[in-house]
Subunit: 508 residues, 4 copies
């Protein structure tokens, strides 16, 4: 493919990939390895917000009921319970530890209200290995109080002006029975009503939204949700939903193998939302936050660890911002227990980083898009295989990819002609492909060790770096992309300014 | 080239490359960047001792004379000096800072006694940009006292048992007029006599040696030195000398371009020493410490930064231990001021690490040899292009190189057949060559920036990692080496132990 | 009190306080704050082993059963279970993370085998907020296999020679129904029999022991246990038990207030064990490891945070080693969930360190005893209020305390005369008492904030340092101890060696 | 002394103590220990700018002349020099290292142009142990070019918008012959003229100033300088001078003992400057930057290490901002070589931090003033013994001191009545006095070790922390200050919010 760039182009490109990133449940944020993985992500990429489940899950230990004179434990626990005498107390110990470490890492929460603390739950339905309770509150007043107390505590500790910039979303995927008892729409709307008003009661400046649905019944839910909100005049600052691009997987042992949607249809299931929202005159143009996206929606899809995933996500990021305020990759790391504790460092987890602090290929897709933001002026080329941007200093930066979802081995050659101002330029490329940056293959070749030694981990980390190459160039760039390659490139003026007496390559 | 290894081989290989490493003058060890470079070297390679000049140089501020009632500074300085009333005091402030940081980094000094503090010097001759004084002491008693006080102080601070394991060498390259006034042999012998006795007076267990000569007049000097020692019954625990493998360089501006000795003659100038030492029955078999070696002996030879250097050193390290107790690469890093402060990160410095914390190709040569020590059982193959060792666990490790000192582009293919116990093995290679690990080229392509930005430094560091590759194999290994490649390889049993349900490469 | 020390004394003092330290359940060792607290403890004190519950608890996720073709989750979970077809797999992911961080912190496990993984449990009895299952295995073969697989995995990863030095203890406090179903003695003996043989099957060099009982029925249990072991010829390398020195507490809200045993009876409940063991000729002199001790046995006794606790423990440590191989303070830190997640940094937790990284007074008791080990020669004085030791260099070190369990305010003055060799000495004291090192009081005065800000935490940490004082002395030392003070002191030769011209205290 | 504060007071207090801090010469900023000391200072205090000598000193290696074809070194160095053919090159290697580390530590330079690089010097006059050349340039064009090249390089590397906020001062103390050859006023004015114009040529936004004089001839110099500037229309953005408050010292060995000015006259020698500047209508109200101040102006005055110094500086800081834009304490740390390398950690150096990373009492004076800036609303009391400020949240903060320059032992009691809103308050005090925070005394009592061990250093650091004390209070505060105490205090609302069931001090 050949492209000639004049520099006069100006193509739509909203690079919002760094607004938010997903995470395993909040209780896991106490872990050391979680912190280290997030630290790596923040150093090399840098996200603004982080969103995950489990703020109110039991392991965070926030909510607690008691009644003076009534035993809380033991064989006579709660004998003599009198609802009118029950009191509630809150425990912020773990919440503060988590939020303190987010602050250290320069990332802010995107608050998801959920799941239900056991003492406040109306039933026993749970989801995941870690048993998040997915039933409505047994007492909506106490639920509202919990929300208000939590936000107020955060404002007390981190400053009101700061905390009101943290978006708040009500629950997660209520259109799935697994996540919300019976996927009961009316009950969710009630939850939304109570929750959104509670949030605004604390401070009107909070941005609150929902319904956080996943694909499938998304159309019905979003339409009904907006109608409910309109009718009941609930607060609403943004619409949220999720987006995954694979079919239902085939399962085997601890793993699942889903079929990827064709790359040309990577946004197909998502496309209706903008229209629905805009069809309400009250909500026309309202922000849509895709609060989760990835290829597969299961935490054990080997696909996530593959170069194919990196290339596919590269395509998505090039146009995702066209219609959506934000899109949050699910997730930053592999400390994650929804399907249980992983047995091996590579296990198809959602993370950009594998356990053992190994960046996966998709990590670099994000790191490469981040580089486009530096000194960004405008986008000058966008194709299904690449994006090229112009910087304020006259240089060009771009990313190219070759999605090969059949693993067929086909290659792509990309030829660019660029309007460089001088003839003394350097082309810098950073390449991620199945040969040069494929830690999954290295791990496989090693015998797929479940518990790599420190030496093996170091080797895996070294093998997981992009391959850097430079060459002197004038105004033409030719990139050869092997299967599932993602390649960052940068062309800039680089006159050779040798020091006195220095001749590169001279021997004697 | 084809080799079949049976496993019954047992070839001489004394891998002593990590006994000692060279350094810029001791005063530079106070610097933060020096510390960081040494830290990197210790983490990835790990040397036991460190040797450099300038222990007694003025910037260490150890030696100071004064006389009560006589001004030390100003227009009347030292008016009324009376030698009998002059007193000496010692200042250990900087010495302790240096030694404390060595201790933190788990490296011990190889003490070189020199150069002459200004107040103790008999003349004004100096060497280097930093003006090390190279004249004999004006008072040999005070010189002996300085040595004794220094060793005693070190023992008080770091423990006697520890400090007596630090070797002591008397002066540096006295056979050059630049390093020792008039290259006066008699005077050096006197210095050696006084110094070696002073050392033993502190503790007999110290190992002391000399004459630390460089090539040229080495034969005459070593012979005469041993005769002197024998005759005068001086203490002597080892003989020391230096070894460089280039001709006198062509100079241009800040740089020098020396011709490298043919690889077949890389030890030619060194070979006579063993014979001379062994010709003295008193000294037969005595340890020879090559207390400096490198290709070029100038700190501004671009050769040091090149892949050619890495390949050439790889050859040297394979046989250097055959005749020598130790051999100390000159130097670990590029914080070094002998020729002045470098203008650019790559400037042909001696260091394994360039300024900006960038490992050079030769860094990896040492790191690769270090890997051979892990679980080492014996050497099974040694050729001018490779070395292969067997580990206690039945695996094999090796290093191969392709010295191309004409930059002709010729390639080498190495085919090995190995006595593997099973058919399920992995071959791991870590490659350093002009394409995959050549930060000098990357820096050149960038325009040879004298002051790279933090982003540019990070790119340089990423480009300076070996290229890791793995493949499944049975018992045959084929390595293709491009010009000036150095390749570490490891073959070991690696049965695939997939987790339940995991199939590598499966899509759906 | 006045004591004159001649230097000829030689008093029994086995300072084994650092052999082992207790910890919250193993799953908590994944946490970042846990790591930081343990790091502080290791840096300032330094223990050899660490012991806690929960190695096999569900959150470690080690043990998992499955049966091919039978669903593990969902409404039809385990339908068609056929015991003969059930297979077991092990997951070492979290175990390795924990053990890797122990290794980083230079501490080794003291392995406690327990509690029961849910799938291997014979019942639903649990203990603690975190619901450790306390029932016997439903299958003793699988239990034995779990032990063997675990030890084997540890040996594979950390080296056989290393791992066999980790002691192994069977279960925890089986003489309490809370910890072991029905406190069934016969069943425990069976568990011990199977477990101890499994351990030795892996490697005979492992040291294995029990019965890890607490006070109360300890006499009966230990006697019966030893008879069982003798009769059945079980492996047994040490006897273990626990020791706490308070009565049953009064409870109020989240807290409990126990009465402390009088200091003169601090070992009363423990004293019978040595006699019982020695009454068996086969076990006479066998090591007794007190694998838990503290004042109170509840994790919410404000006593633990008080200076009184520090003084009381100081007394215990002075004689604990007389009859016991080791004694393990329960616990190092306050990341601990037995009674739920603490609401406030000071909450009467067992830890030496409060959450927020604040050392408690008792932390310093251990730090002070550690200082006695440095250059230790012998003990020259031991009273109920102090201990004094002589160092190899002729200096003296000691600890003095003033246990005031009525908070009566009484003071103690200790006068020592020491056989110093010269008259120019320094006395260094490090004092911990209710005025100078009492972070609990500082926190109380601040209003008992549940969630101190970073500034408040820094203040708390600063307030939690011992008060250092020095004075010039000859051979007499006088120490005044306020209520519940613990004072470390050191007297050593310190001739004033002023630098030339320096006069301390001179103004002009 | 008794004071009643109503809260309606509003007293002038410009707390500018953190605008700038002094440093040893720039070449020392390469040192690791320098970095660590500055890091401690920045973490606990935090200054905005840093100013020191030696930007152009030889050890920074910035300026270099050469002439093609003419040897630069050796016996024939510069033979054939032809001024018209001489070229200049600049070396930014070390400058960048220094500036990069300043950036890491969040401190910006206050640029001092000086001293003279050897090749640009017109004579041999030098100052200090490190021999800074103090002669005018031999070529003013090259001097101007050096300034322009340096500023341009800094802007290229650190950003134009950033670098133009770095003030520029021309030379240092030209009114002393030691610092400027013959203290030649005309020559300095020429230097200022050329330099200030060079600065503005690079960017008009730079703030440039002088004449950086010390006391003595300051009146004559400042007046003549302003006349010169007015007449020649030189750029001038601020007037700068220095201020020290001691007499000429008595010397003995390595030390000097100066008499301190009475505290009531601590600004006496400085007071004329404001009037002189304001007497020029063109310069009326112009910023006066006191670019150096301290008690003694010698780097070996034991006074600097004493509590007296801390108390005296506390007084100065309370009113220094009344007439001066900024005042820069000379210096942050004791890596400093003007009088040679110090022999001992305490040696009367200027630093806030002693070598070994020990904060001196004066360090806390600055740390305490920094605390006043947090949530500062206004000053409500200022006396010769204390300052009290009100915070936006209704709490009060203050500092009190007791200067006892006779070491007479007199004490001061300060009684304050404050308009607290509630009765439940806490008083927090942090005390530095000769008993509780006096590392100099601890070091003396230890025998004044020149080279303390790591254990001794740790003890010294622990002894160098302020003594923290809290007490519950209503609206009255009583502080007792022993000789040379400096006490920070804070009174704020602190209602006791005990957790459920918690009773402080309850035993059982």
């Amino acid at each position: 493919m050949n492209y000639k760039i004049t520099g006069d182009e100006n193509i739509t490109f909203n690079n919002n990939a760094f607004y938010c990133i997903g995470t395993g449940r909040m209780g896991l944020a106490l872990q050391k390895q979680y912190y280290e993985q997030l630290k790596l992500v923040q150093e090399k990429i840098g996200f603004e917000h982080i969103r995950g489940h489990g703020l109110f899950h039991n392991d965070m230990a926030i909510y607690r009921e008691f009644q003076p004179g009534v035993p809380e434990f033991g064989p006579h626990a709660w004998e003599g319970r009198d609802e009118k005498k029950v009191q509630v107390e809150y425990n912020w110990t773990y919440l503060d530890m988590v939020m303190d470490s987010y602050k250290e890492l320069h990332i802010k929460p995107f608050i998801e209200l959920g799941f239900m603390p056991k003492q406040l739950a109306s039933g026993d339905n749970t989801i995941f290995y870690w048993k998040g309770n997915t039933t409505p509150p047994n007492n909506y007043d106490r639920w509202a109080n919990l929300i208000k107390a939590t936000l107020q505590h955060l404002m007390d500790r981190y400053g009101t002006e700061e905390v009101v910039t943290w978006p708040v979303e009500v629950w997660n995927e209520p259109n799935l029975p697994g996540f919300w008892k019976d996927a009961n729409m009316e009950e969710y709307f009630k939850l939304y009503d109570v929750s959104s008003r509670a949030v605004k009661e604390v401070d009107k400046r909070f941005k609150v939204g929902g319904p956080a649905v996943c694909g499938g019944t998304d159309k019905e839910w979003i339409k009904a949700f907006l109608e409910f909100v309109r009718k009941n005049k609930c607060p609403l600052d943004f619409v949220s939903r999720h987006h995954y691009t694979t079919e239902f997987p085939n399962y085997d042992g601890h793993y699942g193998y889903p079929k990827l949607h064709p790359k040309t249809k990577c946004f197909e299931q998502l496309d209706s939302t903008r229209g629905i929202v805009d069809s309400f005159k009250e909500f026309k143009g309202m922000d849509i936050n895709v609060t989760e996206f990835n290829t597969s929606y299961i935490p054990n899809a080997p696909l996530h660890d593959m170069n194919l995933n990196a290339a596919y996500i590269a395509l998505m990021l090039s146009t995702f911002g066209d219609n959506h305020k934000s899109y949050s990759y699910w997730t930053f790391g592999d400390i994650f227990e929804e399907g249980g504790v992983p047995y091996t460092p590579f296990h198809g987890g959602f993370g950009l980083v594998a356990n053992g602090l190994i960046p996966k290929p998709t990590f670099w897709t994000f790191a490469f898009y981040k580089k486009l933001t530096k000194s960004y002026e405008k986008c000058v080329l966008k194709t299904p295989e690449c994006i090229v941007t112009k910087c304020k200093d006259g240089s060009f930066r771009g990313i190219a990819w070759n999605i090969d979802d059949k693993l067929s081995g086909k290659e792509i050659t990309l030829n660019l002609t660029l309007p460089m101002e001088t003839k003394e330029n350097v082309l810098i490329t950073e390449l991620v492909d199945e040969e040069v940056c494929n830690p999954l293959k290295v791990w496989h070749d090693m015998g797929e060790p479940a518990n790599p030694s420190q030496d093996e981990l170091e080797l895996l980390r070294t093998s997981a770096q992009p391959f850097v190459k430079t060459e002197r160039c004038k105004n033409k760039v030719s990139l050869n992309l092997k299967e599932n390659a993602v390649c960052y490139f940068e062309i800039k003026a680089a006159p050779i300014k040798s020091d006195r007496g220095y001749t590169y390559g001279r021997l004697n």
